[in-house]
């Protein structure tokens, strides 16, 4: 078992304005990854403002005090870089990977949109990006079969008022209602240096990055009070299984089974991660062996299980299967539920455990094989657990999980009474 999942140096500092800076030097390739985690996600959004954190992520590419509209993309791609940003319930991250000689340009761009976005934000930009995001919603959630499963599962798993109750993409009504002053206030509230972690990994040094961070970010003032998200650590189950059935235009019945488990980063979630791999990752998994291969009631390409790595409340575990032609949804749902139930009653064998750990090890090292993968990981651990060095603990923690722990966690969080079942049925079978 490796002692560490992160055998590279990590150096950290904190600027006077509160910006935390993390550097991991690696001269293997002539590239650097720059990554910013802002501690602002859809869990912070008040009622009536769903989708704001994500729409804001779009606005961050539309110009700032010294950067013209569209120039951000042009400058990064124009120096050979890759870039993007994502928003989820927990946070928003922004990242670029560039040839190493363009590190300073990248830091300048990030500093300018952290400290100078509001003056550049116009009604025209807001209207344009609102249309883009509405098209993103159509493309990813509305115009594809089963596309809205995640949007439906969240409110079934988390009660109204819970920070994970609504999905990050937000509602069309809230997006339509968004006005410019609200957005300006949103940036002012959350996009502060003391609410962010800057991580740089690759062909550079801590000395160089710390100096550049001070030069470009040092003058951005901190904000004394950053609004906290509502608390969500404790979600009391209803004790009654929840089911929802959707009859719509889908090509085959599909069932999702979901549970609240433990927050990402806890020992309980490490067990959940291994459990999810035993249950639903690969052809050797229980779901594949039982439903796709054994009973042959599920389509082999569409059976699986995974945890969603959310850190501020019991994170979801989702198992899913899609019916082979002629298999009724009830039979599929019963089979899926049975395999999940058996995690508590049929002990996980040594071979199952070894298989899951081997797959998780490869997945971990795959994430570590790029500078951008490492940067995002360090940013996560600095933001969510206060110390990027804790990234090294994850892989050894997975490898230490035992069969007894899996059975115990399964008994604790996968009880049928705490289950959410979402079923899609094709229209013609109704």
């Amino acid at each position: 078992m490796p002692d560490s999942g992160f055998p590279w140096p990590i150096e950290t500092t904190r600027l006077d304005n509160g910006l935390r800076v993390v550097v991991s030097e690696d001269r293997t390739a002539p590239a650097v990854a720059v990554n910013l985690w802002y501690d602002i996600g859809s869990r912070h959004e008040p009622e009536g403002q769903t989708g704001f954190a994500h729409l804001f992520e779009h606005l961050m590419f539309e110009g700032s005090t010294n950067v013209a509209k569209t120039e951000h993309m042009k400058l990064v791609q124009g120096c050979g870089g890759s870039l993007n940003a994502t928003t989820n319930p927990d946070r928003t991250n922004y990242f670029e990977t560039v040839p190493a000689e363009h590190l300073e340009l990248t830091l300048w761009l990030e500093a300018d949109r952290m400290g100078g976005l509001v003056p550049a934000l116009t009604q025209e930009t807001l209207d344009n990006q609102r249309d883009v995001v509405k098209n993103e919603r159509r493309q990813r959630y509305e115009n594809v079969p089963y596309g809205d499963a995640w949007l439906r599962l969240l409110p079934l798993l988390y009660p109204p008022g819970h920070p994970y109750h609504h999905a990050t993409i937000g509602s069309m009504a809230d997006l339509n209602a968004a006005d410019l002053p609200t957005f300006q206030a949103f940036h002012t509230a959350y996009y502060a240096p003391n609410n962010a972690v800057l991580t740089v990994v690759g062909d550079t040094s801590a000395v160089e990055v710390f100096a550049l961070a001070e030069k470009y970010f040092g003058a951005i003032p901190s904000r004394p009070e950053i609004p906290a998200a509502p608390a969500g650590q404790h979600v009391s189950g209803t004790g009654v299984a929840t089911t929802e059935t959707v009859i719509t235009e889908v090509p085959a019945p599909r069932v999702y089974v979901a549970h609240r488990t433990h927050p990402f980063g806890t020992a309980g979630y490490d067990v959940t991660s291994v459990l999810a791999t035993v249950l639903g990752s690969g052809r050797g998994s229980r779901l594949y062996q039982r439903l796709a291969d054994g009973e042959r009631i599920a389509q082999p390409d569409l059976v699986g299980a995974y945890g969603v790595d959310l850190a501020y409340a019991p994170a979801p575990l989702i198992a899913t299967a899609t019916a082979r032609p002629g298999v009724p949804a009830e039979r599929l749902a019963a089979g899926l539920g049975e395999v999940v139930d058996e995690l508590a009653t049929v002990p996980v064998t040594a071979a199952e455990l070894d298989r899951a750990k081997a797959l998780l090890s490869t997945a971990w090292w795959r994430q570590m094989s790029t500078v951008e993968g490492r940067a995002d990981t360090l940013g996560r651990y600095a933001t969510q657990f206060g110390d990027p060095r804790r990234a090294a603990e994850r892989l050894p923690a997975w490898l230490a999980v035992t069969a007894e722990q899996i059975a115990a966690v399964a008994a604790e969080v996968l009880a049928p009474a705490d289950r959410v079942t979402l079923t899609y049925l094709p229209e013609e079978s109704s």
């Binding site: 791609q77 115009n143 951005i220």
Partner: protein, 448 residues
């Protein structure tokens, strides 16, 4: 607050380096490898001359079915034992194909690569292909394709390809076939395809910390029990763009977006204009800041994204633009997209746009080629297209040296706005009249 207003310039440029490439013949096959010192993961990829181009006419989807059937048991163990053995190493067998090749690969911590290559070879060379299993895999693949074809896109792609290349040709039909062709495959088709193409040695690609690997032993494992030589791969196919545009409407009732696929044939991979053509495609539609995305997304807000590019294989190529736009703006989005293609063909590119395109594509050769999988993909390019070891360095130099004149000339020569096939997959009842009113071309309804 004082933000620094002056944009910093670049620091000292690092020299470009692609890992050293090693090639040799071993045990009847070809080996190509690249050294990534200190990398914890290693990749082995077996490259076979068994791409979709090898599938007989009317048997589209054969390679896709065989890819899945490989794991349904081997001479040594059944499907379950095989899955447990390979996943216990931390990998899954990844099998897939494109027009030019069939590829099977594993990715594992470096010390497990010999065991993983043994299992890879076992599946590729000695699959059981029991008739009942093959029939079940075929039926599952047909079902999987029906699921996929329920999404917007596949039907439009098929309509475009058929119009560009002719459905009577293999390359005028979908790469993976369609639900009907897959469902019609017979057990014997699969067994014959395997015996014809999967028992030739092929090329083994290895990427990782080579100091910890015995390449000859890996190659001997991969090529054991193989025979037969290379088979002629056929020359480039001549395809001329259509005479006058057409709009092909693929009905998708209730769709909240229209899926656009616009395209025409373009030169094959070895064409001397490959580099300037790629740059012209990047200025027009290949990057976020490209003309199409700027106008249709950033100015108009019609879409979440639109892109266009030239893509080529050994024997043919195509230029295509793809997007999903809100139903209500289908016609204006189509008109404006055709307008940008026409403008680029007629007036070429500007130096500022080309500057972004050339340094982006050149820089991506540093930024994107980090992982063992990415390097393995780069090595397969060398093999499939008969390119030299220093190809990536040469490509980088050629990209950086390209001038406005040659890129504009490539745009003028290889874009054919008047010969575009415009496929629109959307709610026909809502958009048909508007599409006809654009005057871009006659509207025909696809039977797909």
């Amino acid at each position: 607050m004082t933000l620094i207003s002056t944009r910093p310039g670049p620091g000292a440029a690092r020299p470009y380096r692609f890992p050293k490439v090693l090639r040799r013949g071993v045990a009847g096959g070809q080996l190509i490898a690249a050294h990534l010192p200190g990398q914890s993961l290693a990749v082995a990829l077996l490259l076979l001359d068994a791409g979709a181009g090898r599938e007989p006419q009317g048997r589209e989807g054969l390679g896709a079915v065989l890819a899945k059937a490989l794991e349904e048991g081997t001479a040594q163990r059944d499907a379950t034992a095989y899955a447990l053995a390979i996943e216990a190493l931390g990998t899954e067998l990844v099998a897939g194909l494109d027009w030019d090749s069939f590829q099977v690969s594993v990715q594992v911590p470096v010390d497990r690569l010999p065991a993983a290559v043994e299992l890879l070879a076992e599946a590729v060379r000695t699959p059981r292909l029991e008739p009942d299993d093959v029939r079940r895999v075929r039926d599952d693949e047909a079902t999987a394709q029906r699921m996929d074809w329920a999404n917007p896109g596949p039907r439009a792609d098929a309509a475009l390809r058929a119009d560009l290349f002719g459905a009577e040709n293999r390359w005028g039909r979908p790469l993976y076939g369609d639900p009907e062709t897959v469902a019609a495959l017979e057990v014997e088709d699969v067994r014959i395809f395997h015996s014809e193409w999967f028992l030739r040695p092929g090329t083994l690609v290895v990427v990782g910390d080579l100091e910890r690997l015995d390449l000859d032993a890996l190659a001997a494992t991969a090529f054991a029990g193989t025979g037969g030589g290379a088979v002629d791969r056929g020359g480039p196919v001549e395809v001329t763009p259509r005479d006058g545009r057409t709009i092909i409407l693929v009905d998708r009732p209730g769709s909240v977006q229209s899926t656009l696929r616009l395209g025409h044939p373009s030169p094959h991979r070895a064409h001397p204009d490959h580099v300037p053509m790629r740059l012209a495609g990047t200025v027009l539609g290949g990057a976020f800041t490209s003309r199409l995305n700027h106008l249709i997304r950033e100015v108009r807000g019609y879409t979440y994204g639109i892109r266009g590019d030239f893509v080529s294989s050994r024997r043919f190529g195509r230029f295509a633009v793809s997007s999903g736009v809100q139903t209500a703006v289908t016609a204006p989005a189509l008109v404006e997209a055709v307008g940008e293609i026409t403008r680029t063909q007629q007036t070429g590119v500007t130096e500022p746009e080309l500057a972004v395109a050339r340094s982006w594509l050149a820089g991506q050769l540093s930024v994107e080629l980090q992982t063992p999988r990415a390097i393995a993909a780069a090595l397969t390019t060398l093999v499939v297209h008969d390119l030299p070891d220093d190809y990536h360095a040469r490509l980088r130099a050629a990209l950086l040296a390209a001038e406005v004149e040659e890129v504009s000339a490539a745009a003028a020569a290889h874009l054919h706005p008047e010969g575009l096939t415009l496929v629109v997959e959307g709610d026909a009842a809502l958009i048909r009249a508007e599409l006809a009113a654009t005057g871009l071309g006659e509207v025909v309804t696809s039977t797909r």
